[in-house]
Symmetry: C2
Subunit: 99 residues, 2 copies
């Protein structure tokens, strides 16, 4: 039990960050607006969670213009993918001991 619990990463205990990382594991790049809509968040709330994931070096950012509009996109770093996978391993182990 101690072993399982220790796999869980504090950076991913919040459901917004869990959702962001989940999106970025499945899609290489996801833009701000899509994340916002998929997770049903306000700008500020999304931005603050993105910031904390960036500070942990779990995601990276790309800014470009498409047509004439700015487009900010995010992707999980190698480090972020690894950390998230470890976290999911912990969750999976927890699911497995239920029943």
């Amino acid at each position: 039990m101690k072993k399982i619990i220790s796999k869980l990463n504090k950076a991913f205990d919040n459901k917004v960050r869990l959702g962001i990382m989940s999106m970025l594991m499945v899609n290489e790049w996801v833009d701000f607006k899509t994340l916002k809509e998929m997770l049903d968040l306000t700008d500020g709330r999304l931005a603050s969670h993105i910031k904390s994931l960036e500070e942990n070096k779990f995601i990276q950012v790309k800014k470009e213009f498409v047509g004439r509009k700015p487009l900010t996109s995010y992707s999980a770093t190698v480090e972020g993918k690894k950390a998230f996978k470890d976290h999911l391993d912990g969750l999976e182990a927890l699911l497995n001991i239920q029943h």
Copy 2:
């Protein structure tokens, strides 16, 4: 994605509470000391998380004497089991979309 995320319950975002509930899904009654050892916690930390789960009516308490020593045990309420199951369903759905 919104649907998955909405299944996750704030009461279980902390890994200590995740661990406590997990123990109580698998074992009908677990005592204070065992929880403390299994989760590697200080008395105070365990007690505070237990308190929050009790306030949510997710666990119930039983106090007795065994031999001459006090023994406090906890078990998940029906409500607690349901809430935790829903949370695990959410986590499982999240695991499933990771490829």
